[in-house]
């Protein structure tokens, strides 16, 4: 059996069960909609909505996350082949980490990670 077949099976079963569970209330619950009930909860004041700008910090965090996460994946590949690479691998990865730390220090100096 292909090792990824269980992933598909789990996906399919989980999807069916999740769908059934998320529509349980639609079957069993009462349905009495009203204009006030369908407002967004904002502590009682008239609804303003939230489709506006959000803090740029969140975008920055997301971009930095992608950079560092990809680097983590590279480290995994190296870690798995560590024993066969020997000292060559260690020197290579130290160069890699050094470049990365340089970028990290740059990010810190530009205050991209400051939250106030």
């Amino acid at each position: 059996m292909h090792p990824y077949l269980p992933v598909l099976i789990v996906l399919a079963v989980a999807l069916v069960i999740g769908l059934v569970m998320s529509f349980l209330s639609a079957f069993f619950g009462p349905k009495v909609p009203s204009a006030v009930k369908q407002e967004v909860f904002e502590c009682g004041v008239p609804e303003l909505g939230s489709r506006e700008r959000m803090s740029v910090r969140f975008y920055l965090t997301a971009i930095l996350f992608i950079l560092f996460d990809i680097e983590t994946v590279f480290l995994y590949l190296w870690a798995r082949t560590f024993k066969s690479l020997g000292w060559f691998g260690i020197v290579e990865i130290f160069v890699f980490v050094a470049i990365l730390v340089a970028g990290y220090v740059y990010v810190l100096k530009r205050k991209a990670l400051e939250w106030e």
């Binding site: 269980p6 789990v10 989980a14 369908q38 609804e47 959000m54 969140f58 965090t61 996350f65 106030e116």
Partner: protein
């Protein structure tokens, strides 16, 4: 009627479905019990009673059925969708939150293999050679559920809660990923089952060989599930309930389910990576097999893993009622400015030490 002859593939597919259904049923029982613990434990700590009424006729069972009653109540509630919400995403978000956590919990090796009628069946639903990476990838997908839930509800509290939660989850995913690499270096495998076999004796457990990894992993465990002391995404005093403010009825229950399943899966992963998984300390698996046979020994293994995971579940509750909540800048500083450099340094030092010892 003649029964069709089963070949290896058919047996494994049937076994996968059965194993997943067993895991699913087990996992569905975690939130009720855990929510009950989470109400009774603080009651104990604060010298209150906590829920102790709902029981079965005459038997109150210490209020154990309270959460069952809550679940029934949630299912029979009206499903209300805000008029200004993106309906498709609104309905999709709880599912996207739930499915990755189910994939996560199914890739945990709950025990050594069993044998039924001559067929060897492993006790993890999904067994991949890159198990650790697969788990990281799957937890990454879980962020989408949180983001979509907040964005689709079009409420201020939901949006703020989901932004905070998703930024926090992705920030702590990096140290989480980095904390596993020293273990891969030491044991030379990404396969969770092989990681467990490599920790066959107590002094080879992950926590002794790489304590800093355990330290980072433990902090990330709390931050990844948005649990106290990092539960800023649902700080009741500021955000009502965070990203699931607009959700009610069964969809709200789904969010709860995925949160508790994620906690359980991370607790299991922690036991697998750092505490020898399903192996009983100081008792070798071979001895158990010779005493009890393969299948009973596997059951003992499952019980051991669940016991270890139960400790971490208890730790979640314990910490929640012990530590106050962090501030958001403190949370991000801890992740980016402390855990990330620490994780990188940990990897470099581990690699150097291993190379010097090997040479």
């Amino acid at each position: 009627m003649e029964l069709p002859v089963l070949d290896e593939t058919a047996v494994q597919i049937i076994a996968t479905v059965v194993k997943f259904l067993v895991v699913l049923v087990a996992v569905l029982h975690i939130p009720p019990v855990m929510i009950w613990v989470e109400r009774r434990a603080p009651a104990l700590m604060q010298r209150r009673r906590g829920p102790n009424r709902v029981g079965f006729f005459r038997w109150r069972l210490w209020g154990l059925l309270q959460t069952l009653a809550d679940a029934v109540k949630l299912i029979f509630k009206e499903e209300s969708v805000p008029g200004s919400a993106y309906r498709g995403f609104f309905h999709l978000a709880p599912l996207i939150g739930l499915i990755p956590t189910l994939l996560f919990v199914s890739s945990i090796p709950f025990g050594p293999g069993i044998e039924i009628g001559g067929w060897k069946i492993s006790l993890s639903v999904i067994e991949l050679d890159i198990g650790a990476l697969f788990i990281l990838a799957v937890t990454g997908i879980g962020v989408y559920g949180v983001t979509l839930a907040g964005w689709a509800s079009n409420g201020k509290f939901s949006l703020l809660g989901s932004l905070r939660a998703s930024a926090q989850m992705i920030s702590y995913e990096i140290p989480l990923g980095l904390s596993l690499i020293p273990l891969v270096l030491i044991y030379g495998s990404l396969n969770l089952q092989q990681l467990i076999y490599a920790q066959s004796v107590v002094w080879k457990w992950g926590i002794f060989l790489s304590p800093i990894s355990f330290f980072i992993f433990l902090i990330c465990m709390f931050a990844e599930t948005n649990r106290a002391p990092f539960d800023l995404s649902e700080g009741e005093s500021e955000l009502v309930a965070g990203f699931h403010t607009e959700y009610g009825s069964a969809k709200f229950a789904l969010f709860f389910l995925s949160e508790y399943v994620a906690m359980f899966a991370l607790s299991c992963l922690c036991s697998v990576l750092f505490f020898g998984g399903w192996q009983i300390p100081f008792v070798s698996h071979a001895l158990l097999v010779s005493l009890l046979g393969v299948n009973l020994a596997a059951l003992v293994g499952v019980a051991t893993l669940l016991l270890k995971a139960a400790f971490f579940m208890w730790l979640y509750v314990w910490v929640r009622w012990t530590l106050p909540r962090f501030r958001y800048d403190q949370l991000m500083n801890l992740g980016w400015k402390f855990l990330l450099p620490l994780g990188l340094a940990n990897i470099c030092v581990t690699a150097l030490v291993l190379a010097v010892m090997g040479a």
